[in-house]
């Protein structure tokens, strides 16, 4: 059926609301954007666990293919494929198995280690890596629920780190005050940078995608300038573009003791943040207004909700969460001084984490842990000679596949020979896509 008009009255009865004009308009918005009963977001929000697992499996399979093709043994064996094909398959198996086995050992449970502490350490590492991903992912997810596509987690993280360093690194305070103060300034910095986006969008209607992308670069150059300018953020006594080390009193203590160096109290803060986001979005009255703006800003406005103000709140909140992610870096993972690349790609990974988590607080939490696992495992995969870029490929494929369940179903179930059957199933899948 077509989008709105022909048969709109009939359609309004039993047909799904996907027919309404969807979300992202042209990239310069008038205020407010068209009502969003967005297919995508819906697809992402409503998809089920099976889709998610299939998407991960398929992405891993493609990752496996890439691993196999670049493995030297496989290439060698493929050279005489027709003479002894078994060798090739054996080589492929060992390359792919070796890779994913390394991933498992490096990220979840190292069954080769001697004692339990060492065996389980990889998983705590994965949780440590997950913490900033979850925090930044929550920021993106929350903005998403308000109908904003926040690509700016990177810039928000950078400014968060900048604020924390500028205002709290040279203070001498006891830990109980220094640590939370640093955290607070980090969150504040991120929130301001995010709030700036909300403000410009609310005031002028400029599209947040463009704004956040551009502000990422501005933040990067701003921080780069600061960390290489003496008197600002540059470490004293050096001319490297690096900041002072995080004061020990401002660092998160390790959560489970020195045997698990990657996992610190930052993770607990992130769990609290997850609970907070869940409560705000799903259970609070502010969250109801936020979701209303996200789903249909027109209706929200007509119901007395100040759409502009909600945009600003949401971006403040989102930026603050990105700032929290930055603090997980600065106060946890990278305490020896940071450069302008302190975001370490987390800002962008956050988008995929949020999408994978279907923009729900706990979904994002789980997705963040999955990405943390991939990250933690990438080190031992690399020790197997597998290039690290593979993780990036697998991550983006997961998100693409999740967004298109019909494709997944096609790949996994459809017989390719029976054209008619295929066509029928396709029609069904398409309808499901619309109705799901």
């Amino acid at each position: 059926m077509s989008q709105t008009t022909p048969g709109a009255e009939d359609a309004s009865r039993g047909l799904p609301p996907e027919q309404l004009p969807p979300v992202s308009g042209p990239l310069v918005g008038d205020e407010p954007p068209p009502p969003r009963s967005n297919v995508v977001i819906k697809e992402i929000l409503r998809g089920n666990a099976v889709t998610t697992i299939l998407a991960i499996v398929l992405a891993m399979i493609i990752g496996g293919i890439l691993i196999a093709f670049t493995d030297e043994d496989v290439q060698e064996a493929a050279g005489y494929f027709f003479a002894r094909p078994g060798d090739t398959f054996a080589a492929i198996w060992s390359a792919v198995y070796g890779g994913y086995d390394a991933l498992f050992r490096g990220a979840i449970f190292n069954y080769r280690a001697d004692d339990f502490v060492t065996q389980i350490r990889p998983f705590t590492n994965a949780l440590g890596f997950a913490a900033p991903l979850i925090a930044a992912g929550l920021g993106v997810a929350l903005a998403f629920r308000v109908g904003l596509f926040n690509i700016g987690a990177r810039g928000q993280m950078l400014i968060g780190a900048m604020f924390a360093a500028l205002f709290t690194f040279n203070l001498e305070l006891p830990m109980w005050i220094h640590l939370p103060l640093t955290l607070l300034f980090g969150i504040l910095g991120g929130a301001l940078w995010g709030g700036l986006v909300g403000l410009i969008k609310a005031r002028t209607g400029a599209h947040e995608v463009i704004l956040t992308i551009m502000l990422n670069y501005v933040a990067y150059y701003l921080l780069l300038w600061m960390v290489r300018t003496p008197g600002l953020l540059q470490r004293e006594g050096t001319n490297q573009p690096i900041s002072e080390a995080t004061p020990e009193t401002a660092q998160f203590p390790e959560l489970l003791g020195p045997s698990f160096p990657q996992l610190d109290w930052g993770f607990v803060i992130v769990i609290l943040a997850t609970v907070l986001v869940w409560w705000v979005v799903e259970r609070s009255s502010l969250g109801l207004r936020m979701r209303a703006v996200g789903e249909n800003p027109h209706a929200a406005r007509a119901a007395g909700v100040s759409v502009q103000r909600i945009y600003i709140y949401a971006m403040l909140f989102a930026g603050g969460l990105a700032g929290l992610a930055a603090m997980n870096q600065v106060q946890g993972s990278v305490t020896t001084g940071f450069t302008a690349n302190i975001d370490a790609g987390i800002g962008f990974d956050a988008i995929t984490v949020a999408l994978l988590g279907r923009s729900r607080a706990w979904g994002t939490f789980v997705a963040g842990i999955l990405f943390g696992v991939l990250k933690a495992g990438s080190f031992s995969m690399q020790a197997q000679g597998i290039p690290v870029d593979i993780v990036l490929v697998v991550q983006s494929l997961i998100v693409l596949f999740i967004a298109a369940p019909p494709l997944l179903r096609a790949v996994f179930f459809l017989p390719k020979t029976d054209q008619e059957k295929a066509a029928k199933a396709r029609a069904k899948a398409a309808k499901k896509a619309v109705e799901a």
Binding site: V28, L66, I151, R203, V209, Y217, S396, A404
Partner: protein
């Protein structure tokens, strides 16, 4: 504020009454710019002689006393700003020429100040601006076509990157830059295929697909670069570049000649592409249908145009054009592919699309402006201007933010851009 009465012209066209209003946005911006420059000249005074060189072709260098010239220019700028205030007070929209002249003079004043006892190679500055704009122009054209057809193309960055990659690969293998160029187009189209399939068939939000595709292409090219190109560098990553072609006569025109007509094949291709797209978008069946599916897909559908197919092929075309932009990196600029070598230019191209109001010519001009800003930054760092280079690097992004914020609401993109067209 006075109102004009509603009027209906003879042909039945209804013109809504409009109130007359004073618009002070432009004058305020101009005044602010003037004051900023004046403050800069006041607090960071520079003395000496600023030299402007207009190519080698017989034109003498212009040597200007820095302080005097810059203050005279500030005075002229102040007059122009005042003029625009007067215009605005009289309910007139400030003339476009005034804004343009102001802009050129402001840049000139800044350059005079910055190049105290230095040399500004004007021809070379402009030449570099044109070169730097090439990927932006192609990327922006790809964006314009995609969005005019109703598909927001955030994947320009990915198209440029894969274009650059496949151009490098094919040109290295065949030692023929033209085959590399075709490869670049194929690379762009591949990205477009995925974008189009996911956004048109699977109704995935176009912005999301675009963003994820950029990540995917970054990962994929990074992976292939490490796994393929690096170990076999001489075989796979030594693309043959396009040579410069000097166009007789035209290239002898002072200043403009060497800037515009002593370029590589891709630049000439760019002139042709801009001209063709600008004409065809408004004057051909292809353009009419393209705009129809982007403005009002149902209307197009009801007259028998297959909306999704039209969108699909035009997004692919957009990818091919953006791909040519990618070829610039490895077939014109540097004979080697490098990881993430497009360095975010795809996003600048996207900004040019919006800055250029979805119009091929305007988008091209916007791309040229961004190219100029970037090249200006190069020059200023060489001249040793007291402003930290990071701030100059920020400039294009800040300009984009200001532009997007300033123009939003006044400009309108294709009505159906970003919306999937669903029919059973």
């Amino acid at each position: 504020m006075t109102a004009l009465a509603p009027a209906e012209s003879a042909d039945g066209t209804l013109k809504l009454a409009t109130v007359r209003e004073r618009h002070f946005k432009v004058p305020i911006v101009l005044a602010a710019a003037t004051i900023l420059l004046a403050l800069l000249f006041l607090f960071v005074p520079r003395d000496g002689t600023s030299t402007f060189r207009f190519g080698g072709a017989g034109l003498p260098d212009a040597e200007l006393p820095t302080a005097a010239t810059s203050w005279i220019l500030v005075a002229v700028l102040a007059v122009l700003a005042l003029w625009s205030f007067v215009d605005a007070r009289a309910y007139r929209r400030p003339a476009l020429w005034l804004t343009i002249v102001f802009g050129v003079l402001a840049v000139f004043a800044f350059l005079v100040w910055a190049s105290a006892d230095g040399l500004v190679p004007v021809t070379s500055l402009l030449f570099g601006a044109v070169s730097l704009s090439v990927p932006l122009v192609f990327g922006a054209l790809g964006g314009v076509i995609g969005e005019r057809a109703g598909v927001v193309n955030v994947a320009i960055e990915g198209q440029l990157l894969l274009g650059a990659f496949s151009a490098a690969l094919l040109s290295s293998l065949t030692h023929n830059p033209f085959i590399g160029l075709v490869g670049a187009m194929v690379g762009g189209v591949l990205v477009s295929f995925v974008l189009a399939a996911f956004s048109i068939k699977y109704l995935v939000d176009q912005v999301i697909v675009g963003v994820v595709l950029n990540v995917l292409v970054t990962g994929l090219t990074g992976f292939l670069y490490g796994a393929l190109l690096v170990p076999n560098e001489t075989l796979l990553n030594r693309p043959v570049r396009f040579d410069r072609l000097e166009i007789p006569l035209l290239s002898d025109i002072p200043i403009i000649g060497p800037v515009l007509f002593n370029q590589t094949f891709i630049v000439y291709l760019m002139y042709a592409t801009v001209a063709i797209v600008a004409w065809a978008l408004y004057r051909t069946r292809w353009g009419l249908r393209l705009r129809a599916v982007g403005e009002h897909p149902q209307a197009a559908d009801t007259v028998g145009i297959n909306v999704n197919r039209t969108r699909f092929w035009n997004v692919s075309l957009a990818g091919a054009i953006a791909g040519i932009g990618g070829a610039y990196f490895t077939l014109v600029s540097v004979p080697q592919f490098g990881k993430e070598m497009t360095a975010g230019l795809g996003f600048i191209a996207l900004a040019a699309v919006i800055f250029g109001r979805w119009d091929p010519i305007r988008a091209t001009l916007a791309a040229l402006l961004f190219g100029f800003a970037t090249n200006l930054q190069n020059l200023l760092t060489v001249l040793g201007t007291p402003i930290p280079s990071e701030f100059m690097l920020m400039l294009p992004y800040v300009v984009t933010i200001v532009a997007v914020a300033g123009f939003a609401g006044q400009i309108r993109g294709p009505a159906a851009a970003g919306k999937p067209y669903i029919k059973s």
